[in-house]
């Protein structure tokens, strides 16, 4: 079974990653070294307030952040409403929603290599079988050839596709339906053909993989009079038969690491924001006390090499609510949730992409 092969591959990769972090000597056979160079932070900006999307780079060696680095290198803006980023090979791919394009840059120099234009808003990215995949509000996933940097296949999926994940040679795409969707599409990464579309809880917007299972994030549905949620935003495990979706935890954002899920629940009617680490192997979870550092969470990501957790945050406005037109910040925690660093980012730090040598 392909999934099991992939599972063991991933396990190996994570194991090597952990080994790389260990100071113990590791025997005569030299182990390939896996390490992170740094992290990219994509800031959405705020189109109504005339704030463009930007890219920040955090260099792990010096623990410094360079803000607005795309603009500094290329002398032009990333554009309006940047949404996601993905490092693959030597390149960084940035999905810019309102500009309906994917900006491809050299991950080291950040020189722009190509703008790949789409037919609709560019939403999210993933990589599979040597190709990049980008979801677009045109109702498609576009496959990008990483050498020619062109769309070599446009794959029709459901309405308003959002987050994606790769599992083995399969790409999983959430079809949000702009709040009313209840399916995800599975694409064969090798052929670019849809292998199936499956029912799931309503309004799926993201999907992550812990090296073992896939997990689906739904953004919930509102009551008819929108006085609250009909279905709460939650994270579900996708069972391999695609038929059963056990609830893992309620939450509005999720990130994964090996056999771990990190999530927060920033629920609109509940002012208390909770953060949770779930051990997907045992099903045990613990609440994380991040509220002391995080004013209003924006994005969450775990570095697969170091195991560090990164949580970005908005600052609060003078009215005490998240300020979508002011610069935010990002906090780095070690795997024991000790705060290591805090960096000031651009406006709306909406996505975090790690730059490492782990393919």
């Amino acid at each position: 079974m392909k999934k099991n092969i992939f599972k063991s591959m991933l396990l190996a990769a994570f194991a090597m990653g952990i080994a790389a972090c260990s100071s113990d000597p590791v025997g005569p056979e030299p182990t390939p070294e896996y390490f992170s160079y740094g992290a990219f932070v994509v800031n959405s900006g705020n189109q109504t307030n005339k704030i463009n999307g930007t890219l920040d780079y955090i260099e792990f060696g010096s623990n410094t952040i360079i803000n607005n680095v795309f603009e500094k290198v290329n002398g032009r803006s990333l554009g309006i409403t940047a949404n996601d980023a993905f490092v693959y090979g030597s390149k960084l791919y940035i999905a810019v929603d309102s500009e309906q394009l994917v900006e491809v840059v050299d991950a080291k120099t950040l020189q722009s290599l190509k703008q790949i234009k789409l037919d609709g808003a560019a939403r999210h990215l993933t990589a599979c079988e040597g190709k990049m995949f980008v979801s677009s509000y045109s109702g498609d996933v576009c496959r990008i050839d990483t050498t020619s940097l062109t769309v070599d296949k446009t794959i029709k999926v459901g309405d308003y596709p959002e987050g994606m994940a790769t599992y083995g040679n399969l790409v999983f795409v959430t079809n949000s339906g702009y709040g009313s969707g209840h399916t995800f599409t599975v694409i064969d990464g090798t052929t670019g053909n849809v292998t199936g579309t499956h029912e799931c809880p309503t309004n799926p917007t993201d999907i992550v993989c812990d090296g073992n299972y896939l997990y689906l994030l739904t953004s919930g549905t509102y009551k008819a009079d929108w006085s609250g949620y009909e279905e709460d935003p939650a994270i579900y495990r996708i069972n391999p038969d695609y038929l059963d979706f056990p609830l893992v935890t309620k939450g509005t954002a999720v990130a994964s690491n090996f056999m771990k899920l990190y999530s927060f629940n920033a629920n609109y009617y509940n002012p208390d924001i909770t953060y949770r680490e779930t051990d997907t192997n045992s099903g045990m979870y613990k609440e994380l006390d991040l509220s002391k550092d995080i004013k209003y969470p924006c994005a969450i990501a775990a570095d697969p090499i170091t195991g560090h957790l990164w949580v970005s945050s908005y600052n609060l406005s003078e009215y005490g609510y998240a300020d979508y037109s002011a610069p935010g910040y990002i906090v780095e925690y070690d795997s024991n949730m000790n705060k290591l660093h805090e960096y000031n980012t651009g406006v709306g730090p909406i996505a975090i992409a790690f730059f490492n040598n782990l393919k």
Binding site: K50, G79, S98, Y178, D225, Y268, S317, Y319, S325
Partner: protein
């Protein structure tokens, strides 16, 4: 003096339909003595003289522009006209189809009401009026009052906002039984085509009708320069075409010398593409919007020929807007809205003694809004407004005291309605003439008023909150007006006003998260400002005159919400500190010319003044030339305009570029 008022009054009755009570009460008292006068030229001179006098002696700041000013000062459209008035901040999304709203003295656009032929226009959905819908061709005058105007015989609703913009369209001439026709064709850059006609005729000595119609087509695909950090590209507005028509039918019936009934039906239809905000790398907008508005109104007034006047008006208004986004063919972003208004008002004016007038006005308005939005609660509102006003005028002194009592009853067909509101709003204005020659007036006014939250703020899905209270304002004004005729050939007029405004419980949208917002009453804003206007009229030869009109405004519109916050004390978004306009006109028997410019200083798109969100200031210049040919009893007028002469690329709203240099040519034929 008595004779002077006779002329004025006659002018009112003869020329204007009911509802336009701009003249002092003293003038109205003479209504029973009206006789018809045929020399219309003389009348016009008197009217202009009277208006200027009004502007100087007004207890609250008053600015006026007449049809003649539009020509002399080279004014091309309503937003251009408002640019020439002090204290105004215009929002303009660019081009003929772009929405234009106006805010006065640091108040938001919703604090300015727009009165169209005697009855307020309304939009309960957004609470603001898009001025791009009203072309100038059929407009006889535009005036702006901040606070309470001198005329007190007006509906209560007209005193229920911080500032009032009054648009008066051309009324039928009433002095003959001949048909009158004005036909005009205007063409301009970017596919602008605008035919216009107005026909009027008196069917008898006391009954007249008028019809007008106009059509505007524009591609609006104007070029602009796009600054992308260090890269400048040449672009063009895309998906910007508009097709718009507007027609009115009106009548006026004067059964007796002291009573009058008039009415109007109005229809407007604008089917346009929305270019949206400018992106750097895509030009792929497929949004469209169709706006329709129809209303009918009736107005009646009468008097007992002595000391009592009565007026009643009513209106029914229907408006719809349909938004479509072709990028999302499943219609998920489509929106349709329909709103209705029923309105009735009655006013009584009583003048027990020469120096004192008392007015009571009672208004009732019903508004409702329906939409295609899921979860729409079908909100509606009953508003009952009552105002009691006393005006005392003796020698050089004038005082107006008013109390306005508002009852706002809010509910929704499905779901929860907003809070009801009952509130008393006081105001007082004073004017004192310090000297007669040169004419010098001192004025002072205070007004407390509020605005009700609009239906979007109250009910819009994932945005509104029914817990909202009104936004409360206080305004103080102190001003001087001065005029000197320094010879028979020249005149200099100067006005100065200083003001202090305070807005509290300002309605601010705050996010629960990126998609769920609500509105709360939290903001506080303090406005300190000064307006200066200057006007010079100088005869420079036989049938030649030079005219200079200018204004300058300084406004500190600062955020006073939270002293702990970094935004405290900063100029609020989209309010410039400095604005000004100047026009120099030369009238002569050959070709009248005018050069004019407007300037606005830097603004911020954010209250935080976040780096990169500043919008540069700009200076824009224009040129106008026109000439009128008289052939027998007919007139032919040719006019040419060059707008944005220096081709300055600027923005009023961030990411919405304004057109560069453009031209317009018009030919008008009057029978």
């Amino acid at each position: 003096m008595h004779q002077f008022f006779k002329v004025i009054l006659m002018q009112r009755v003869a020329l204007y339909l009911l509802g336009m009570f701009l003249y002092p009460v003293a003038a109205m008292a003479q209504q029973d003595t009206v006789t018809y006068l045929k020399d219309r030229l003389l009348q016009n001179i008197e009217v202009i003289g009277q208006r200027q006098q009004q502007r100087l002696s007004s207890a609250a700041p008053l600015q006026q522009l007449s049809y003649k000013d539009f020509k002399i000062q080279g004014i091309t459209d309503l937003s251009d006209a408002l640019h020439r008035l002090p204290g105004i901040t215009l929002r303009d999304y660019g081009g003929a189809g772009g929405m234009k709203t106006v805010s006065v003295r640091g108040f938001g656009a919703q604090h300015t009401s727009v009165i169209y032929d005697g009855i307020a226009l309304s939009d309960c959905q957004s609470g603001q009026i898009d001025l791009a819908r009203y072309s100038l061709d059929n407009v006889e005058s535009v005036s702006l009052v901040v606070g309470d105007q001198d005329e007190i015989f007006i509906p209560a609703r007209e005193v229920s906002t911080a500032a009032t913009l009054t648009i008066r369209t051309f009324q039928k001439p009433n002095d003959d039984l001949k048909p009158h026709l004005t036909a005009q064709m205007r063409v301009g850059s970017f596919g602008y085509t605008n035919p216009f006609f107005r026909f009027s005729k008196n069917l008898s000595n006391n009954f007249g009708i008028q019809a007008m119609g106009e059509y505007i087509y524009a591609d609006n695909d104007y070029p602009f320069k796009l600054q992308n950090v260090k890269v400048v590209t040449k672009e063009r507005r895309n998906n910007s075409r508009m097709n718009s028509g507007h027609g009115e039918l009106s009548f006026a019936w004067t059964p007796t010398a002291t009573s009058q009934l008039d009415g109007k039906v109005y229809y407007y239809d604008n089917d346009r593409q929305l270019p949206g905000l400018v992106h750097y790398y895509t030009n792929n907008s497929k949004e469209t919007e169709r706006d329709r508005n129809a209303f009918g109104q009736l107005a009646f007034k009468t008097s007992n020929r002595n000391n009592l006047w009565f007026s009643a008006k009513s209106k029914f208004n229907w408006a719809s807007s349909s938004y479509r986004d072709g990028s999302y063919p499943d219609g998920v972003k489509d929106q349709d809205y329909w709103q209705r208004e029923w309105y009735a008002t009655a006013s009584l004016l009583y003048r027990p003694i020469e120096s004192l007038s008392l007015n009571y006005s009672g208004d009732y308005t019903f508004n409702n809004l329906n939409s295609s939005e899921p979860g729409d609660v079908h909100p509606y509102r009953h508003s009952i407004l009552q105002s009691l006003t006393a005006k005392y005028q003796q020698d050089r002194f004038k005082m107006i005291v008013r109390g306005l009592y508002t009852i706002s009853l809010n509910d929704a067909k499905i779901g929860t309605g907003a809070h009801n509101v009952r509130r008393l709003s006081p105001s007082i204005s004073l004017s004192y003439q310090i000297s007669e020659q040169p004419s010098l007036h001192l004025r002072a006014s205070y007004k407390n008023i509020f605005r009700m939250p609009n239906f979007t703020e109250l009910y819009f899905r994932h945005y509104g909150s029914t817990d909202l209270s009104p936004e409360n304002t206080d305004q103080f004004n102190l001003g001087l007006t001065w005029q000197k005729s320094y010879s028979t050939k020249g005149k200099l007029t100067l006005t100065w006003d200083g003001y202090w405004n305070h807005i509290k419980d300002k309605i601010v949208a705050v996010p629960y998260n990126m998609f769920m917002w609500t509105n709360i009453n939290v903001g506080k804003v303090r406005v300190l400002g000064t307006d200066v206007t200057l006007s010079i009229e100088q005869e420079v030869g036989r049938k030649q005159a030079l005219r200079i009109d200018g204004n300058y405004t300084f406004q500190s519109v600062s955020n006073r919400t939270n002293p702990e916050a970094s935004t405290y004390g900063l100029q609020i978004a989209y309010t410039p500190e400095h604005t000004g306009a100047l026009s120099v006109s030369y009238e002569n028997p050959w070709v009248n010319v005018s050069a004019h410019g407007t300037g606005v200083s830097k603004r911020w798109a954010t209250n935080q003044h976040y780096d990169g969100t500043n919008i540069d200031g700009y200076l824009e210049f224009g040129l106008t030339a026109y000439r009128t040919f008289t052939i027998k009893n007919q007139k032919l007028e040719l006019r040419g305009d060059i707008k944005n002469l220096l081709n300055k690329q600027y923005e009023i709203v961030g990411h919405y570029p304004m057109p560069g240099r453009s031209w317009q040519l018009s030919i008008m034929w009057i029978i």
